[in-house]
Symmetry: C2
DNA sequence: TAGATTGTTAATCGATTAACAATC
DNA sequence: TAGATTGTTAATCGATTAACAATC
């Protein structure tokens, strides 16, 4: 007789992670001002989901509440931040120093400097165009793409924003396969074949526009 | 005996609409070059879903294929474009002429001018800052927010991109309640309470970053 | 203790996948 | 006709909601 030992593949649905980010944001807003405890009901109302869903989502990661009382807002915020790795500084790079890349670079750097708990720090920007190399974006120099792999690996950077033209996106992500980059946010309107070990999310404005136009 | 006439509330799941936009993009790419017909299998492979899903999605809107043959690529592209309202020019405005607003304005205008079938046309930009009013973005003048309602209504514009700071986003969308705007793409990192009849989608980079950081 | 709210199990709902008769 | 592929129905899967015992 064969006993199969099933390793509980603790698979967390994507939607749960996304909602966790919403809970974190809501908790960051109430923490200081209101009472020290929040119920799943209150948190749910702020985020726009059901109380049962809040409890279910949190239950995937542990027991954070007290029966009859609710969740300690500060503690829950810290725990969710830990789960989402937002309790440490996350360095990232931007590849593609066009208008969108520069706008996102300035935006995130400003947030990092002004918001206490904002964890994402832009560390470097890259472009293939020699005319752009050397240009400074909010204090960060744009470097040539050929330096990318070395710099990313030296500084152990795991995250990249991809703001290159559609035609360049696939070749850039192929380059990233040789680096420590593990997560990529792709702004190019194209489906990328990701190298093994790299997770790609798409932030495609054209797709959002098409989606919205359906409701006109 | 009472006969209940059930109006088939043709509720289309959000994910289906999103995939429709992906099918449209894939079809636009193959149309000219390859064979005139595509099977659900081929289309599925290009988009990264199953063939059954392609057929199921399309079946929600009609019968577009021929058994044993597949779908005529050009015809299917036109039909999906019609469903997504991408068969006509969709005028939209950008509210908030900061860096992100300007970058998105230039990006979409360039696409509109260079891509044959790109349906989204930026018609006006607005800001509350008098220093920004009058400035031109790729030929489009930035106007004061106080002119927004009048211009949007005169030109029957239904779509808006919201690129104002988080603190201003809710008051702007309240203003939109008085206009013909029906769909809003919100870039501010905050949940908006939409006026009746307005559909809001969020394009929140911070949320995407949190989501991705989970996988580091 | 009494009231409230969690964590969890069971019921429901909806979306995806598989399968196949219809038919080009 | 024979082979292929659709449109659709049934089976599966997974996520959401409801309900409630446990307990603060």
């Amino acid at each position: 007789m064969l006993e199969v030992i099933c390793i509980k593949e603790s698979r967390v649905p994507e939607v749960v992670i996304r909602r966790l980010a919403l809970y974190l944001r809501a908790l960051s807003q109430i923490d200081a001002s209101e009472s020290a405890f929040v119920s799943s009901q209150e948190l749910a109302a702020k985020v726009g989901v059901t109380a049962a869903q809040v409890r279910k989502d949190l239950a995937m990661f542990g027991e954070f509440g007290k029966q009859g009382v609710g969740y300690h807002a500060g503690f829950l915020r810290e725990e969710i931040a830990r789960i989402l790795k937002a309790d440490r500084t996350i360095e990232f790079v931007i590849i593609g120093a066009g208008e969108l890349g520069i706008a996102l670079g300035r935006y995130t750097l400003r947030k990092y400097e002004s918001e206490q708990a904002y964890p994402f720090m832009l560390t470097a920007m890259f472009d293939i165009d020699p005319a752009k190399v050397g240009h400074k974006v909010a204090g960060i120099s744009v470097r040539h793409i050929s330096e990318m792999a070395r710099i990313v690996n030296e500084r152990c950077i795991g995250m990249a924003l991809l703001t290159v033209p559609e035609s360049a996106a696939q070749s850039v992500i192929d380059l990233l396969g040789e680096t420590r980059i593990k997560a990529v946010l792709n702004f190019a309107p194209t489906r990328l074949v990701a190298p093994r070990g790299i997770r790609v999310h798409n932030a495609d404005v054209s797709l959002d526009l098409h989606h919205l136009a359906f409701f006109l």
